[in-house]
Amino acid sequence: MEKAVSTHQLTKRFGDFIATNAITFDVAQGEIFGFLGANGAGKTTAMRMLCGLLKPSSGEATVAGFDVYRQSEKIKQNIGYMSQRFSLYEDLTVRENIRFYGGIYGLHRADIPAKTHQILQKLGIESVGDSLVASLPLGWKQKLAFSVALIHEPKIVFLDEPTGGVDPITRRQFWDLIYEAAHGGTTVFVTTHYMDEAEYCNRVSIMVDGKMQALDTPAGLKTTYDVDSMDAVFQILARGTSAK
């Protein structure tokens, strides 16, 4: 199977501090890959390197088959990105946001109205198309931000803690969108610290202090550590305590 993301000994140092320490992993095309870790474990740094926001200190990585050192422009055209902080413009309407992101991702002007209609219909928010984004509830904003991140049909979408601060039902609905995207062949690379979300991923990696401590399917991890939830696996790895 073709690899969507491939890293080898990828490292980022900030002075003496090693944020990401020689991580090596592959993500398959169409996979939902969960990237777990406590705050400061290095997951955001790793993701920023893959998105071309940070230059790695050493190691190798390719995203969508392109090298992160030399082909970051190619990478940018093939990835979508949604940050933990909100990525839509609050003083623009829903339609204007879609139009803007469609524009900067190089969609043809004639295609944008159809795309806008498609997104609004899929999310069931046609009625608020001309409202300012600031007036939408957080859950709607996040679903809209995700759809906008996919507007140019990227091969890979990076989601940096996309569901922060929303209720479990909205989170579930958000994951339905993720499944739908993955089903369509998009690779989803998602960081989270919600352990229930970890269960939804095809494979999960857990970062502790810049190192990748585990990488397996949720079921595989639970078997390895002989526990019955991802939360327990995380407790053992990240906090060094046994949940048994």
Binding site: C51, G52, L53, L54, K55, E73, K76, Q77, I79, Y81, M82, S83, Q84, R85, F86, S87, L88, Y89, E90, D91, L92, E96, R99, F100, Y101, G102, G103, I104, Y105, G106, H108, R109, F158
Partner: protein
């Protein structure tokens, strides 16, 4: 190109949606120009004076009338004695006292050295100097009219002529200064705040991940403000010319081109500031402190550079507004062309290139 247009479009939405931004953008220049043009002027009109006429002659009466007819002076009171002079000054009701000594006419008509004493309230030194100059000129005029052929031996008659601005109109000085200040303020402040805002909300990161290049992002931030600030510049020029009667002796085209150049420089500085700071608040303070205050105090706008201490004179050379004010005065008032103004123009171009380059480099290193 389509990407770029989409970006510029979005910037216009930001500006036009925000009422406060619009107010700063268009209300501020209007208020500033009118305020500086009408209220803050150093011209002298109807200054209150007192006359102590110890001579009580036709000559003293005619000189008094001539002074009062000039429009610069207004008679507050007729004094009776020297003690009255001090009292009037202390009360602060008069700015200037004119004293005709006894025997003034006698001396005058016999060709002896006749004197008129002018006493000015120098607690406002600039006003005092202007008032005595005006009064001296008027009195000298009077003598010249009376004795057109008089050749007074051993008298050096200094005749100064104020070229370019014979009436010493304050607006001539203030309009270029206000223009520089407003354009700098609006341009630098607005761009620095808009980029800092994107950084704060996290959208800058999303833009960085998008296929837009850094150059496109910077330019996309610059273009809308360039257009709006240019419109602003035109409004200020129009106000200056049509409302405050500042002449436009040089080429309008050259003036507009120089204005555009200065705006671009101001925007580059704004972007440079925003590439250094994290939040909108810091961006705003940095712009105000780094741009506004030096522009007001060190550009020659309010205080003449020539009368500053040497170290400040040297510092004034790095103030962009100094060059722009010189250029605007040169074009509008003196009618100078590019052959006289190429040096300050080159300085402005050089500064723009420097700040744009530094901002691009800063944005790059922040990502590495």
């Amino acid at each position: 190109m389509n990407r770029f247009i989409a970006f510029v479009r979005k910037e216009f939405f930001h500006i036009l949606r925000d009422r406060r931004t619009l107010l700063i953008l268009f209300g501020l220049p209007l208020a500033q120009v009118l305020l500086f043009g009408f209220a803050l002027t150093n011209e002298i009109k109807n200054a209150k004076i007192a006359i102590l006429d110890n001579d009580k002659s036709p000559h003293s009466q005619q000189i008094t009338n001539k002074l009062l007819a000039s429009g610069y002076f207004q008679l507050q009171e007729n004094l009776r004695s020297n003690q009255d002079i001090e009292r009037a000054f202390r009360k602060g009701t008069i700015k200037l006292a004119v004293v005709f000594p006894t025997g003034f006419t006698n001396n005058y008509e016999h060709g002896r050295n006749s004197q008129i004493q002018l006493l000015a309230d120098a607690s406002e030194q600039n006003t005092a100097i202007s008032l005595t100059n005006y009064a001296t000129a008027i009195i000298r005029d009077y003598t010249a009219e009376r004795n057109p052929n008089a050749q007074l031996p051993l008298t050096i008659d200094v005749r100064s002529r104020m070229v370019f601005n014979p009436e010493l109109k304050g607006a001539f000085v203030f309009v270029p200064g206000v223009m520089a200040m407003v354009l700098l303020l609006v341009s630098a402040l607005m761009t620095s705040v808009t980029i800092a805002r994107e950084r704060e909300t996290g959208t800058l990161e999303v833009l960085m991940v998008s296929p837009l290049s850094q150059g496109q992002i910077l330019l996309g931030k610059v273009v809308p403000y360039l257009l709006l600030s240019f419109l602003n510049g035109c409004v200020i020029i129009a106000l200056g010319v049509f409302v405050l009667n500042v002449p436009l002796n040089g080429s309008l085209l050259l003036l507009l081109a120089e204005t555009l150049l200065f705006i671009f420089l101001a925007l580059s500085i704004g972007i440079f500031i925003s590439s250094l700071v994290e939040t909108q608040l810091v961006a705003m303070f940095a712009s105000l402190m780094a741009m506004l205050l030096p522009t007001i105090f060190l550009s020659g706008f309010i205080f003449p550079i020539e009368s500053m201490p040497k170290p400040l004179q040297i510092i004034s050379n790095i103030i962009p507004a100094k060059y722009f004010i010189g250029i605007v005065k040169g074009i509008m008032i003196k009618g100078a062309g590019l052959q006289y103004l190429w040096q300050p123009t080159l300085v402005l171009i050089g500064m723009s290139v420097l700040f744009m380059g530094l901002s691009l480099r800063n944005l790059k290193t922040r990502l590495a």
